[in-house]
């Protein structure tokens, strides 16, 4: 149970479809990821990236298809705290009256009793997580007073405190400072070595080449999926972005 079976897939999504009141947001999407893999999710705005995340967290119901997490149902994965979601910066109310400690502690709620009283082990997990993202000096700082990068690290710490084996990150590099970017990149390598599975969406093609083993190009459905070196070609990127050449999008060097 504790030792992950490296033969098995962490995430298996088969032909999943999501529609919002009849409007199709995603159809026939497939994805399978093993422990220790980092996968980049690339697509235009409105291509279904957030919808993909939402279906993997169970925040939206899929209308067709199947999702297995570690070979089990999504429901039991939720109960086991297997999946952590790190929202994009616009996805949260930064004026909400909570501080860094409160937010990271939220990562422990799922393993606490119904009153959510932190035990010694929860407090330790939160401390460790905050130390790993280098925010020990900001424990009681309201999230509204943090910089974009610090806030991003706070939510990353929440995922660490949760001790999830699957991390879903929506635009982890958008609006962060260089220091945070470096810290997140280093953490990704550590997570990979710990056998965690990471799915991240990004607009930055350099990041994809830098540390994504796999890449999933989507435009309402999967355009291409596979090893970054094979799939991340100008032709595939062009068709993902609706016929616009990657030169125009990212410059000739990317």
């Amino acid at each position: 149970m504790d030792k992950p079976n490296y033969q098995n897939y962490r995430i298996e999504a088969e032909n999943i479809c999501v529609d919002y009141n009849g409007k199709v947001a995603l159809y026939d999407a497939n994805l399978s990821l093993k422990p220790g893999q980092i996968c980049g999710l690339v697509g235009m705005n409105g291509a279904g990236k957030t919808t993909f995340f939402n279906s993997l967290t169970g925040f939206v119901n899929i209308s067709k298809g199947k999702i297995r997490i570690n070979g089990e149902t999504l429901r039991s994965a939720q109960k086991d705290q297997t999946i952590a979601y790190v929202p994009q910066s616009e996805g949260i109310d930064s004026q909400f009256p909570v501080n860094v400690w409160d937010v990271v502690m939220m990562g422990r709620y799922g393993s606490m009793n119904v009153l959510r009283c932190p035990r010694e082990s929860d407090i330790q997990a939160v401390k460790d997580a905050i130390a790993r993202v280098d925010l020990m000096d900001f424990l009681s700082t309201p999230i509204g007073n943090l910089s974009g990068g610090q806030r991003k690290r706070t939510f990353l710490a929440r995922a660490i405190a949760q001790r999830a084996s699957i991390l879903l990150l929506d635009e982890p590099f958008t609006g962060v400072d260089i220091r945070t970017e470096k810290l997140i990149s280093e953490l990704f390598i550590q997570f990979k070595n710990e056998g965690k599975t990471i799915l991240l969406s990004t607009h930055d093609m350099i990041h994809v080449r830098e540390f994504c083993d796999l890449v999933l190009l989507i435009n309402k459905t999967v355009v291409a999926y596979g090893e970054t070196s094979e799939v991340f070609t100008p032709e595939n990127i062009t068709s993902t972005f609706g016929g616009i050449s990657p030169d125009v999008l990212f410059g000739p060097e990317s």
Binding site: F59, Q78, P97, Y109, G110, R116, G144, R158
Partner: protein, 290 residues
Amino acid sequence: MDLCLFSSINTFVTDPLTHEFMRKALFMSSLVAAVCGFLSSYLTLKGWALMGDAVSHSVMPGVVVAYALGLPFSLGAFIFGVGSVALIGFVKQKSRVKEDTVIGLVFTGFFALGIVLVSKIKSNIDLHSILFGSPLGISISDVKQTVLISLLVVILLSVFRKDLMLYCFDPRHAKTIGINVFFLHYLLLTCLSLAAVVGLQTVGIILVVAMLITPGATAYLLTDQFDNMTIISILSAIISSVIGIYCSFWFDLETGGSIVLAQTFIFLFAFLFAPRYGIFKFKKFFSNYK
């Protein structure tokens, strides 16, 4: 001179307390204010002010029907409160009309139905006391009901305090870690309906929404800590009730209106002088004071 001033203040405070109805009104209003104030911090953070307005108006026909059938008015109010929210959700999903329009449409419809019912059902329902509240004339059975409902709401909110906070802050994370978001959504709606029911006795249907949003908004300007926000919200609501009732007694003012006006003044004070978020930031003063 000093003694004279002291005794007049003393009279000002204690005189009303010699009346049974005033003691009851003070107790009831403070209780109701505390319940609404507690809920208020969740509603303001969730952005449910309009929803609060909708639910509180929609309970009207429920109250009238319950009176006519001899049922506890809270039951009727509760059914119509939750029903209105379900109806809003349904119409929004099945039509292209925008949400705020649907909310406005549904609650005014329910409210109008309530008014029509009052005029049709010839009974001893006092429209004025439903619309504007009557904390000075609450009956014993109403007191029992209100105390029971208030306790229920306070217990529910206390037990699910942190889950509800998480639900308001980041429902996606809540769902991801296996917390039943659907349950929390309806729990908050249920508490809202129940709070509207108890609130309408003191300030009436029209103004009960103020009890549900003003204390929370005031507290939001004064703190960056959720727990403190809840405490400040409850305290400001209770203080407003006491001020409102005293003013109503001494200056012969409408009680519900006085309570809400007191809340509005406290909000205004926070809006102007809040240490961090007020117009005139008194941060320095407060940090020295600390």
